[in-house]
């Protein structure tokens, strides 16, 4: 048994010492290892090979490299960058498979920077370990860790999964931080670059096309005469046009070729064939004019160049317009905070929000955003949650309340503990949901989809057929007419307008809904919601607040409301009954102090009794008090309370009646107005509840519903919905999404009324983030507007193609002598898709409540 002492570096805490020991004990022959942090040495006992030990130390990240120049102190500074010891990046294609020939493998994030959130790192030397572990990953150029943020930044061409594995192998945890905002920024930059490229292509195409066209319009000859200077001149023009096709039209030709090889045909196919045919014909005219009859020696170079320019312009304009369709998601992304003020080890510091971990304590000051979902630990404030729920009123928050990322702190300072971070926050889930819904296809778009799938080959067939028709039936010069008709058909046909008609409107409509606090989970619901004729509303929590409250207090002469409530609250202290809680809450709200009672007794179905200062207090229903011999009174007031749907509770001291308290689950402030709006939209409104008929009808009267289904057991709600559907109605069900999940699923559209920021309601097609029933009417209004918009788009796209293609083929020629110019076709085609996108954008201006009358409460601008 012998001992060896080896130098170490960078070990500053017990955690490092433990790691070093573990690393060394794994070496064969080692029986013990003692780390001396002060001396930066480790003493190893046992018969182990010295080189193996040194290697183990190096691997653990604490070793001293024997051959390296003496370790400079800077090198152990945590933030120092360590060169990658790994071999220079190998062909990353080896790691991946399946990339197509010619493309090699995919190397995601080549030359990118990855940001990792690191867990378990507690001291400066862990930093070194992690950095060297990361640097060891193939493809990493540079790795640096920031202990304060607990993030590691890795530059180079590495697979994120490998990075995470490496950190795990070193004994820590890691996850990838995706900076949505940064990604968004990059997306913007790329889009800008693409836009500029399209504009460049436009300029080049038009710079060649317009002078040529002007020449033709000004009476210059477009004809080629063999053996004259015009032949050479046109040859030069032909080569310049070829340049335009090869430069500005390159992507069309490559796309057409690639798609063709895959037995696919797309817009590129049409444009490439159209412009290619015009150019090839013109070149034949220039090179071999003798092959063609004299009248047919006409060149169409200007058409090729103009079409390329115009279509690039159309794509650029379309891109601009498209940017706006995803505005809603962008706005949601912008809601997220960039940094968070985290309290760690008693210190506060601002760190990137991505590196906040669940369990962290965070502070938010007035005017700042909540960074992650959490629970308030300290402080009182009001939060503006309108961006998530659509509800304009700020919500009070205190210890124990939950807060949601993206909401804005109004006045006070709060300290809260992070519960959900990263993509688990309600905001992140909302964004994911909206994005997903934006890709959904409502049934109305299916026909267009089916047509799109066969559109381009069909147009190719029509182009050939019209060329043949001109050849067989048309006047001379036939070959020119054949070429012009075929080219014009190819160019005017626009699969884009058809393909874009539905998705663009859906993008805007879903985004619009999200802004109003309406999350659409199923694409079909976007369409169905507008066709509803019956709406079933659950009572508790949907029409009403969902928790009972005191709605009226009446006393006999000489007693005050305060006394009555104090006594009642004292009686009910400690009771868990919902009615008791309502009374206690009211007493607390009014600042009343309860007194201690004795001999508390609950009389099942009757009421409660207890003694206070020797007197017997009873609180319960009239029948029970009658039997107990309590004097009567306040009958009228009690009946009035009952008519409003409240349960009257009588309070007696000994045999003397003191007063009556009405407790009810009150209807939400805006339920009546919202139900009125549903009426205005032409719906039958049905209320469904398990309550007894009388109290159900009282609520129904207040809310203004048409029909009441009372005394329905929760499990029978779905059957009632089915029964209504059996009557041929299109039924929506609105509920809390938990007790009435089967009914929500049964309905044509299920609406879940969310509680604030709870988005995880799976049973419903649509989740209303705010608690208001106005959301239902809003959703229906948005649905109708979106479907109308889709119909306009589809109509426009269909009409355009069904009129444009025959005209281009020359169907008007026999009657009017018109044959469309390919250049006009190019302009029309560019405009058609821009029009569709622009029309979809009009939806952005739609206000769900704009047309409805009598809205007392106004909603924020957003």
């Amino acid at each position: 048994m012998n001992e060896q002492t080896l130098p170490i570096q960078g070990a500053t805490c017990q955690g490092c010492a433990r790691k070093i020991r573990t690393a060394l004990l794994a070496v064969p022959g080692v029986s013990g290892a003692e780390v001396d942090l002060e001396q930066q040495t480790v003493t190893v006992s046992g018969n182990a090979d010295g080189d193996a030990l040194r290697e183990a130390l190096l691997e653990s990240g604490y070793g001293v490299e024997a051959l390296s120049s003496s370790p400079s102190p800077e090198e152990s500074v945590p933030e120092c960058h360590i060169e990658a010891p790994g071999p220079p990046s190998q062909d990353s294609g080896d790691h991946h498979h399946g990339g197509a020939a010619g493309h090699g493998g995919i190397s995601p994030g080549s030359g990118e920077e990855h940001l990792l959130a690191i867990t378990g790192a507690t001291c400066a030397s862990c930093v070194r370990t992690i950095e060297s572990a990361l640097s060891g990953v193939t493809g990493v150029r540079d790795a640096s860790m920031n202990l304060a943020d607990r993030t590691a930044r890795v530059a180079g061409d590495a697979d994120t999964q490998a990075l995470i594995e490496a950190v795990k192998a070193a004994g820590y945890g890691a996850s990838v931080i995706e900076d949505e905002q940064l990604a968004d920024q990059q997306r913007d930059d790329q889009e800008q670059a693409h836009y500029r490229e399209l504009i460049r292509h436009t300029v080049i195409g038009l710079a060649v096309g317009i002078p040529l066209m002007a020449w033709g319009l000004a009476g210059g000859t477009m004809m080629v005469t063999a053996g004259t200077a015009s032949q050479w001149g046109w040859l030069a023009v032909g080569l310049v046009t070829l340049g335009v096709l090869a430069w500005s039209g390159r992507h069309f030709f490559i796309g057409a070729w690639k798609a063709g090889r895959h037995h696919n045909a797309n817009m590129d196919t049409l444009i490439a064939l159209g412009t290619g045919a015009a150019w090839a014909y013109s070149m034949v005219v220039v090179l071999f004019p003798d092959w063609l009859p004299e009248a047919a020696r006409h060149v169409y170079f200007e058409a090729s160049a103009m079409i390329i320019g115009l279509i690039n312009l159309g794509q650029a304009l379309e891109m601009r317009a498209r940017g706006k369709t995803s505005e809603a998601v962008r706005r949601l992304l912008d809601l997220g905070a960039r940094t968070a003020r985290v309290i760690r080890d008693g210190e506060e510091r601002d760190i990137p929000v991505e590196s906040v971990q669940a369990g962290d304590l965070l502070r938010v000051r007035p005017g700042e955003k909540i960074a992650v979902d959490g629970e308030v630990e300290e402080g009182e404030s009001r939060l503006d949650e309108s961006m998530l729920t659509g509800e304009p009123m700020p919500v009070s928050k205190g210890p124990g309340d939950t807060v949601a990322a993206g909401t804005v702190n109004d006045s006070g300072t709060l300290i809260y503990r992070a519960t959900r971070v990263g993509r688990d926050t309600a905001l992140a889930q909302i964004i994911a949901l909206v994005k997903k819904a934006q890709g959904a296809k409502p049934p109305i778009g299916r026909l267009a989809d089916r047509i799109s799938a066969v559109f381009v080959p069909t147009i190719l067939l029509i182009a050939v057929a019209s060329a043949l028709a001109w050849y067989n039936l048309g006047p001379d010069p036939r070959i020119v007419h054949m070429m012009v008709a075929a080219t014009t058909v190819l160019i005017i046909a626009c699969p884009c307008a058809l393909g874009l008609a539905t998705p663009m409107s859906v993008m805007v409509g879903v985004g619009k809904a999200a802004e109003a606090g309406i999350l659409i989970r199923q694409g079909e619901a976007l369409q169905t919601a507008g066709d509803l004729d019956t709406i079933v509303l659950d009572k508790t929590g949907t029409i009403t607040e969902g928790h009972p409250a005191v709605t009226g207090v009446h006393t006999i002469d000489g007693e005050s409301e305060a006394t009555l409530l104090t006594l009642a609250a004292s009686l009910e202290t400690g009771s868990e009954h919902p009615l008791a809680r309502a009374i206690l809450a009211t007493a607390e709200e009014r600042g009343l102090r309860t007194e201690a009672v004795t001999d508390f007794q609950a009389h099942n179905g009757k009421g409660v009794s207890a003694r206070l200062n020797g007197a017997l207090l009873r609180l319960g229903n009239r029948r029970w008090l009658d039997r107990e011999g309590v004097a009567g009174g306040l009958q009228e007031q009690a009946e009035a309370l009952g008519r409003d749907g409240a349960t009257p509770l009588f309070l007696a001291r000994d045999q003397q009646l003191l007063g009556v308290i009405g407790v009810a689950d009150p209807i939400k402030q805006d339920s009546r107005a919202a139900i009125q709006r549903l009426h205005d939209l032409g719906l039958t409104v049905v209320m469904i509840t398990g309550d007894v008929r009388t109290s159900a009808e009282a609520i129904a009267r207040q809310a203004g519903v048409d029909k009441v289904l009372a005394e329905v057991l929760p499990e029978d709600k779905a059957r009632e919905v089915k029964r209504l559907q059996g009557e041929g109605r299109k039924v929506a069900m609105v509920g809390d999404g938990i007790n009435d999940a089967p009914a929500l699923a049964q309905a044509d559209v299920g609406f879940a009324i969310g509680t604030g920021t709870d988005v995880a309601i799976e049973s419903a097609a649509i989740t209303l983030m705010g608690g208001s029933l106005h959301g239902v009417a809003d959703a229906m209004a948005i649905s109708r507007a979106t479907v109308r918009n889709i119909k306009q788009n589809l109509f426009g796209a269909f009409a355009y193609n069904t009129l444009g293609v025959p005209v281009a083929a020359g169907i008007l020629y026999p009657f009017t002598g018109w044959l469309l110019s390919p250049v006009i076709a190019g302009a029309a085609m560019s405009l058609s898709s821009v029009t569709v996108v622009t029309n979809a954008n009009r939806l952005r201006l739609f206000r769900p409540r704009g047309a409805s009358r009598g809205n007392e409460e106004t909603r924020g601008e957003s």
Binding site: E112, A183, H263, S452, P495
Partner: protein
């Protein structure tokens, strides 16, 4: 004579179009295994564009979008209710578990990019 030749040529061309785009099949399918399958989105085509998978098996596809034009920005699996936005120059992972055998189309939102997912038993 020329008339006949040109008409015949035109009809042959039409037959070729029908055959090539509709009747001739789609070319070889790429079989997806346990490892993620990479799909390049560029120049108007998904590469590979025909993918075979097993019913009930989770399938991971990594889309790498190279085409910056907005046409390529979304991939939609029709009938499977899956859609994803793709970032240029970055791999976007789509995970899905097709339950029933059959052929599912996946396209961009305008259906210019087209691919087929063949699900076998």
């Amino acid at each position: 004579m020329t008339t006949w030749l040109i008409n015949l040529g035109g009809l042959l061309l039409m037959a070729l179009i029908v055959w090539w785009f509709w009747l001739s099949g789609r070319g070889p399918a790429k079989r997806a295994g346990d490892a993620p399958l990479d799909i390049v989105v560029d120049n108007g085509v998904y590469e590979p564009s025909v993918i075979q998978a097993r019913a009930g098996q989770p399938l991971t596809l990594r889309f790498l979008r190279r085409d910056p034009s907005p046409c390529a920005e979304q991939v939609i699996f029709h009938e499977l209710g899956v859609s994803e936005f793709l970032d240029t120059g970055k791999a976007t992972t789509v995970t899905l578990t097709p339950q029933r055998p059959g052929e599912y189309r996946f396209t961009c939102q305008m259906q210019m990019y087209q691919g087929t997912l063949i699900v076998n038993d």
